[in-house]
């Protein structure tokens, strides 16, 4: 079954999109600002004869010529973390500031948690939650290798998350990097779509709505919530935003996408969504030679 064909009506150059989905992804690492600078990483790669290309939109991303970011000194020292280019977008859009309290609702394996901690200069707190106990060890080892001291790791259902025992009332920002059908990761995992079904979309969309609603409720008025998925299905993207915009005190705000992208879609299979969803961004694999991603920025209003 060609799952992705259902998105043909949404995509300008569908042939280029389909061809890009067949190509493997470049191997990319992100510099961990807690332990290093892009300049020192560059120098260490040069000393070791590791070939790389800089990524124009982000000074801390390096595309490596060889696969496998784990076998070199910069990795051993926690100076770099293997992270797909498009996966560095949501924390950039979140734009956390030093000293803030940030909630990463679905944090494992920690790529975005550690990026957030670096952007906050490892001050304040990033509450890194994941409901799957088995995924926490990867989160912990990534955070520890990168020397993160500002993370609080929790293992709870994000939809029922409470701040009662943490001693503060609200987060300044939250990132909902939601569990999803992962259609946009086919370049990394060619079998990502093997278990795809419309029934799964309906199930996971329920989860996404519950988590995003909780994130809006636990973020202070004026605070920022970023919603992201690595999938193309409007059922998991614009439809989730439409639901939460109607149910909670929040609005979608425009933001500058660091990568070439399309606006969110207001109509899908006969269903119409709140016009605000145009402010979300759809990033397709052929536009920037990355994985696929969906990203929206919300402001909490009440």
């Amino acid at each position: 079954m060609d799952v992705l064909a259902r998105y043909e009506p949404l995509i300008d150059d569908y042939d280029a999109f389909a061809a890009a989905c067949e190509r493997p992804l470049p191997s990319v690492v992100r510099v961990n600002l807690i332990k290093a600078t892009p300049e020192r990483v560059r120098r260490a790669f040069d000393e070791a004869g590791i070939g790389y290309e800089r990524v124009a939109w982000h000074p801390g991303l390096f595309r490596l010529e060889e696969r496998g970011p784990g076998s070199n000194w910069p990795y051993v020292h926690g100076w770099v973390h293997g992270q797909e280019e498009v996966s560095a977008v949501p924390a950039t859009v979140l734009d956390p500031q030093p000293g803030e309290r940030v909630w990463d609702t679905c944090a494992a394996p920690g790529s975005k948690t550690t990026q957030i901690a670096g952007l906050m200069e490892d001050t304040g707190a990033v509450v890194a939650n994941d409901d799957t106990l088995g995924r926490l060890s990867a989160l912990r080892s990534n955070a520890d290798r990168q020397g993160v001291t500002s993370a609080v790791v929790t293992n709870r259902d994000a939809r029922k998350f409470s701040l009662d025992d943490l001693g503060f009332d609200a987060f300044d920002r939250a990132l909902v990097d939601a569990p999803c059908s992962c259609e946009g990761t086919v370049r990394k995992n060619p079998d990502a779509l093997d278990d795809w079904s419309e029934g799964y979309l309906a199930h996971v969309a329920g989860l996404q709505k519950g988590i995003l609603r909780r994130a809006v409720r636990l973020t202070r008025p004026g605070g920022t919530v970023v919603y992201g998925t690595c999938t193309f299905a409007p059922e998991e993207n614009e439809a989730v935003l439409d639901h939460v915009l109607a149910a909670e005190d929040c609005r979608l705000v425009p933001f500058e996408s660091p990568l070439v992208s399309d606006p969110g879609v207001t109509e899908w299979r006969g269903e119409r969504f709140d016009e605000q969803v145009r402010r979300a961004r759809r990033i397709y694999p052929h536009q920037n030679d990355t994985g696929g991603f969906f990203c929206a920025k919300l402001e909490v209003t009440g």
């Binding site: 076998s71 520890d144 001291t149 609080v152």
Partner: protein, 168 residues
């Protein structure tokens, strides 16, 4: 005095005099350990609180939380106490060991490669203390700590945990 509750994070008392839990180290003692053993200035830790979870595992956290908190992890594990010789963690010395001024052994690139692979090696020229040392090498123009070594009888044992070892 009460016992240690291994299921939650408890903040360390500021000094030994304020201790309420048997065997729990104080913040003063932890900061003092790093200063005495490695010359790391006490102000290095000004932005961090210290916590114990489990028996003797000490974590450094960048902020403030209530004194007892039931979460999975809090900050970074930096030290193992409640044993005769306190043992710094690999992650702790990588993060904070750049401020060390003593008991740091500078390895050649070949020695560093063997160390990170988990190999023990003879180190006849070391004339500093025995016990836990910070093993470092030069990378991109500066000294960079790799991890913890145990120096005994002319030999440097690598205590890099299995999951952090690499053949480079």
């Amino acid at each position: 005095m009460t016992g240690n509750d291994g299921s939650r994070f408890d903040r360390l008392p500021a000094t030994d005099a304020e201790r309420r839990v048997e065997g729990r180290p104080s913040r003063e003692a932890v900061v003092g350990f790093w200063e005495e053993r490695f010359g790391i200035p006490p102000e290095t830790w000004d932005g961090h609180t210290f916590w114990e979870k489990g028996a003797g595992k000490i974590w450094a956290f960048a902020g403030e939380l209530p004194d007892h908190v039931a979460v999975e992890t809090l900050g970074l594990p930096v030290l193992r106490t409640r044993q005769e010789h306190w043992k710094p963690t690999t992650d702790g010395v990588q993060r904070f060991g750049t401020a060390a001024t003593r008991n740091v052994v500078d390895l050649t690139s070949e020695q560093a490669r063997r160390f990170v692979a988990g190999e023990d090696q003879d180190l006849p020229d070391w004339d500093g203390d025995w016990g836990y040392l910070i093993a470092a090498h030069e990378l991109a123009g500066e000294r960079e700590p790799i991890g913890v070594g145990l120096y005994l009888y002319g030999e440097l044992r690598s205590v890099v945990p299995k999951g952090r070892r690499r053949e480079l």
